[in-house]
Amino acid sequence: MTCEEARWLEFESEEARAHAAGCAECGEWVADGVALRGLADEAVPVPRATRRWLRTVVAAAVAAVAGVWVAMVPRQEIPPPPIPVVAVAKPVLPAVEVQVPTQAPVVARRKAVAPLYLKIETSDPDVIIYWTVEGGEE
């Protein structure tokens, strides 16, 4: 295995690691990799203000999910949509064939309904109510 092959494999195969063990320059590459991974052990300080800010973000995000978005940062103002330019076209009238009626149209007439009389007797034998209902609904 050549240096290039071992490096291309990122020293992840057995053969590549064996190569690095016997090659000074590739050994340096491996050591660089170890140092790089060591950078992950360093904790980056998070100031209190950031933590507070983070909590605000979380609250706002949860509110947003619930449909109540809290505008916590100035958001870009959305410009009003441009007034649409409407092209006014002359309406094209459809050619209508006018038919002159040769005879008067037959109109269905509602049948004349005889008025309905209601006689309502009350508890007083001297008082009788007559109710006339004209032209009852069909």
Binding site: A35, L39, V58
Partner: protein, 187 residues
């Protein structure tokens, strides 16, 4: 130890679903799980603690805002790192210069560290800061944060073959910078 590692993908997916449902504890858990990883990457990408903290805040804000659109079948970790790298690259572009480059003639800050491992770590840290941002991001995600090649590919939005190539080149460049650092320290 990497705090993002102990969570298995299915555990993480469960937390994501809870957070999507509006569970505050789950949301807080997700943020804390990724907090250190995001900060570490941001610190090494940007070189300044204050900038790293700003970047982390931006990442968490984006995460909270877009979590409801997150498909929990995808893994959250590469997604969070993708946001981190993108935020850092944006900040670097805005800053125009990559990093406040150390004056070539100036004394190196950790020249007096006695332990070889510490010296190597310092050299590697310094070397990282000299890499091109994309190579630096690839190395940080792969080597420091321990993402798989596939996860790095998702995070950087490239093919896995490109990640392998980036890592290979980055390691080569890093080796050159480490040699240079050691040469100057031992002078």
């Amino acid at each position: 130890m990497n705090p993002a590692l102990p969570l298995q993908p299915d555990e993480l997916a469960a937390w994501v679903r809870k957070a999507q449902g509006g569970n505050r504890e789950a949301m807080d858990h997700l943020l804390r799980t990724h907090e250190q990883g995001v900060l570490r990457v941001a610190l090494r990408m940007l070189g300044r603690l204050e900038d790293a903290q700003d970047a982390a805040q931006e990442v968490f804000l984006r995460l909270c805002r877009s979590l409801d659109q997150f498909d929990d079948t995808r893994e959250l970790r590469p997604w969070v790192y993708r946001m981190t790298v993108n935020v850092c690259l944006d900040m670097l572009r805005r800053r125009r210069t990559q990093l406040e480059l150390v004056d070539e003639g100036a004394a190196l800050p950790v020249a007096e560290r006695r332990l070889i491992e510490e010296e190597r770590k310092a050299a590697v840290e310094w070397g990282l800061s000299r890499l091109a941002p994309r190579e630096r991001a690839a190395l940080l995600l792969r080597e420091v944060e321990g993402l798989t090649t596939r996860e790095v590919a998702v995070a950087l939005e490239v093919e896995e073959a490109t990640v392998r190539s980036l890592i290979y080149q980055a390691r080569g460049h890093l080796r050159e910078w480490v040699k240079r650092y050691e040469g100057r320290v031992r002078k």
